[in-house]
Amino acid sequence: MLNLTWLRYEVILHWIAVGMYIVAAVLYTYGVFFSKGGMFARAEMCLAAGLVPHSAALLMRWIEQGHGPYMTRYEVLSSDAWIALVFFLMIARRWEKVRAAGMVAAPAAFLMVAVALFRNPAMANLPPSLRSVWLVMHVTFAKLAAGAIILSLGAALLYLLKEKAALRKVRPRIPSAEILDEYSYKFAGFGFVFWTINIAAGAIWADQSWGRYWGWDPIETWSLATWIMYGAFAHLRMFWKWRGKKSAYALIACFALSLFTIFILPFVAKSLHSEYFTP
């Protein structure tokens, strides 16, 4: 089940993408810290250029194994990074003030792909219970949620950076603190929406497969707890007027919980989900 020729090209393409993402991350950081607005455009070009080999690698794998990149950790991490970047570029095009968040999105993406490249790249068969359109929805929205949450984290970190009086040079290149605060909440909201659809699609798929929409599987439960935490954050923001630093730190805590649920828990807990992402 391991076509070495395809795999070699795939890994090379992935490394090219990692290289482009590293350059983009450097350009974003330079742009933010040294007030070079033109750097953002160049960084976005690098990201777009990196997405080409990255997409080709994912597409090759999809064709070769006959199913989407959602089975092994290698392909899950790689496709998560891909979706996060596509989502970021779309958002940056729509809301230009978010562009500085690339300083967080680009390193997150290259780290994900790089970690993926150190995992076992063997292809895995799709078990029959995973042949469902609801699984595709479940996985896609989980990845979109991850993308939105990374952006939200980016905006929250930039807010904290902006607030830091010592870093006065940073101020001109990133939007006002109020706008960053608002964007961090907005993207956390997008993540909340995608996370909800992810849970709902997973429940429908589980019902179709096993006649049970909820099984209190550890990852299911942590996922619900993460959802509840975002709900609590939304209430704190709306009714208790949590803004600024409080909101940014709360978002960092929400991000940490999401990170644990998506990326760490499958490694440590015995769960239906971790059994699928085997190698």
Partner: protein
């Protein structure tokens, strides 16, 4: 009483209850749950945690999701949700057409006024508003109410309503669901009686599960990948529902079947059953031993078992490896070893119908048949839960993607000069709305403004 009601229905209590449910879920995810953990693993956890395990058991944290503390917390949260739903509904109704008066800078967080040309620029204003996504909601004398994202005001109501629907559906499922697992042999029939289930469970308000349905397994069709992993599994069934004519159907994984309020799911568990017949000391004992499918390609299906009413134990291996697609059910080979108190008393390789001598009698390999695992359920309110999920998702999309925004425009005369005043209302994303409002005001000013009045715009 009123005070208690006020405390219970307050937003603070709602937030505390949300956090409490989250915390209980995390405890439930950390402590192994009896209902979803294999008994062996649970016993292992108890042995490894001699202090925590009894505490968890005493607090019922090992049955968290059916424990009183969890159910009461969810119940109280539902009451808080109901109260907030009413509040949200009233707010949404009020936001549908907010009163324009009083019209001044104190009322609107976003407000600007500047002189315009004397003729009323209504059409141009509406065109500019349209470019920003605003549509006129109401025109009243010299005032126009512009609205963007009308659906946004219902978001929170839908979200909270959806959560209540999910909780109601989940509670109904918990109380009334009936569920069982059937291990059905080829050419065998499930008659819906309790003894036919390998396991059966039902909710506190549901009767023991006795579906009015007969299901016969005509044939089972597994398919394997080259490396021996399962590719698909399908069962050809003959279903008789009540007095109706038997109906042949095929079900597969992820393709459930609904008949007479009962749902049948193809499970991923399946294997083989070896039929043996022991004739010894004047007794004939038929014995069926279920064995799993091969663990890896090139290996036989293997299993062990004890023969009832005797002290005999058997170890079997069924050849050839069926994952290679060469398994012919009418000519399987069985490698068998029979032991009595740890000592081998007989062994051999048998084809179907062949026997080997045992304790002065014989042991006959009758046949080998496949078995298919079927999940049978009834009384699930999953449809209601999914409708609730739909409402939650729709509500969240409305809240975060389409936040309600209102702009009130008023034409005024100040010192005999025509003026236009704009007031903006947004419940969320004030900073982003301020940005949009400023751009909107600038657009109006550039097309209709009489002169540069920077101070007016700076006030936005």
């Amino acid at each position: 009483m009123k005070r208690l009601k006020r405390v219970l229905l307050s937003r603070r209590s709602g937030l505390l209850l949300i956090c409490a449910v989250g915390l209980l879920c995390l405890i439930g995810a950390t402590v192994p749950q009896r209902s979803v953990t294999a008994p062996g693993r649970f016993a292992q956890w108890e042995a490894l945690h001699p202090v925590a395990a009894p505490v968890a058991a005493a607090l019922r944290f090992d049955r968290m999701y059916t424990s009183m503390i969890f159910l009461v917390t969810v119940g109280m949260l539902s009451i808080a949700l109901g109260a907030s739903l009413l509040r949200m509904y009233r707010t949404a109704r009020r936001d549908a057409a907010p009163p324009a008066a009083p019209f001044n800078a104190e009322r609107f967080r976003h407000f600007v006024r500047f002189p315009v040309r004397p003729e009323r620029p209504r059409d141009k204003l509406l065109k500019t508003a349209g470019e920003f996504g605003y549509a006129p909601l109401r025109e009243d004398g010299g005032m126009i109410l512009l609205r963007k994202h009308a659906a946004g005001r219902w978001g929170a109501t839908l979200l909270h309503g959806g959560m209540l629907v999910v909780v109601a559906g989940a509670l109904a499922t918990y109380l009334f669901e009936q569920r069982g697992f059937v291990q059905l042999l080829e050419r065998d029939t499930f008659f819906g009686s309790g003894g036919d289930f390998m396991y059966e469970e039902h909710g506190p308000l549901a009767a023991p599960f006795r579906p009015d349905l007969w299901v016969s397994l005509l044939a089972f069709h597994p398919a394997y990948h080259a490396n021996g992993e399962v590719k698909s599994a399908e069962s050809d069934l003959l279903i008789r529902e009540g007095d109706r004519q038997p109906e042949p159907v095929r079900i597969g994984i992820n393709e459930p079947l609904r008949r007479g309020g009962v749902e049948l799911y193809q499970s991923g568990f399946f294997g083989y059953t070896v039929g043996l017949r022991i004739e010894t000391q004047g007794r004939a004992i038929p014995y069926y031993l279920s064995i799993d499918r091969p663990a890896a390609p090139g290996t036989p299906s293997a299993g062990t078992g004890g023969i009832p009413t005797t002290s005999l134990a058997v170890q079997v291996k069924l050849y050839p490896d069926p994952s290679r697609g060469t398994f012919a059910l009418n000519a399987p080979l069985l490698e068998i070893r029979v032991q009595e108190r740890g000592k081998e008393v007989a062994s051999g390789m048998l084809a179907a119908g062949e026997s080997l001598p045992l304790r002065g009698g014989t042991l006959t390999f009758s046949d080998a048949r496949q078995w298919s695992g079927l999940i049978v359920t009834a009384g699930s309110f999953s449809g209601i839960v999914f409708a609730g999920f739909g409402l939650i998702a729709a509500g969240l999309i409305a809240v975060y993607f389409f936040p309600l925004r209102l702009i009130v425009v008023r034409f005024e005369r100040v010192d005999d000069r025509a003026h236009i005043a704009l007031g903006g209302i947004a419940r969320r994303e004030q900073a982003l709305f301020a940005d949009e409002f400023r751009h909107f005001a600038e657009s109006i000013y550039l097309t209709e403004g009489m002169a540069h009045v920077e101070s007016d715009l700076a006030a936005v």
